[in-house]
Symmetry: C2
Subunit: 108 residues, 2 copies
DNA sequence: CAGCATCCGTGACGATACTG
DNA sequence: CAGTATCGTCACGGATGCTG
């Protein structure tokens, strides 16, 4: 997942490592969309503007592997899959909201 | 500027746009290093682990263009250049600190 | 509906050598 | 010291089409 073998001996968590988890181009947007509750795959695809299927799948897998979202499959026809934030993921809510506010004020 | 007129300045400020400003691989690490005060180019190169000259220059230019850092040149021999956070940049301090705390608790 | 497979271009990134 | 210049690589990301 990561290009470099950072902390084989280090214990400290670097910003680089953190960004490896939520620093992807679409991660925060997906998390942001999930703040309002669980979402189906197609809903996320619609809510996260300009993302495409491949990227959404990729990011969701990455986030699931990192314990930020939970994936629930329902054996319906047609199939239903729902994504929810974990506690770990929900703790990002104030941070992302603050970042967003910063952006609204300073970026435009 | 308040939240009230954030629709008048520009219609949409997306997370994507915000991340275009501070979402670079090294941006946050550089900002983080600048929290403790102004730094010379070589200091940043040393403080931001694993960054190289080209990337540091690139990110600093981007951040300067976005009003996050200020670049000061001193006509000394050898030349001295110092970088400082603007108000806009310093407002990121609590956000990045929170993100860092989140990472320490959840990423490792 | 959900999401995998495939092709493919762009550009991000790194290493290094060089300059005022 | 503080950058430029140059080159090469590869991962990211976009656009499909296909399947259970």
């Amino acid at each position: 997942m990561n290009k470099k073998n950072w902390s084989s001996s280090k214990e400290k968590c670097t910003l680089q490592e953190i960004l490896g988890v939520i620093g992807g181009k679409w991660s925060m947007s997906i998390i942001y969309a999930l703040f309002t509750g669980k979402k189906r795959f197609s809903e996320l695809e619609r809510l996260v503007l300009n993302i495409n299927t491949r990227m959404l799948v990729k990011e969701l897998k990455n986030m699931e592997a990192n314990g930020i979202v939970v994936r629930e499959v329902f054996a319906t026809v047609p199939p239903t899959v729902e994504y929810t934030l974990t506690t770990k993921g929900r703790k990002l809510e104030p941070i992302i909201n603050e970042l967003y506010k910063w952006g609204v004020e300073y970026v435009g």
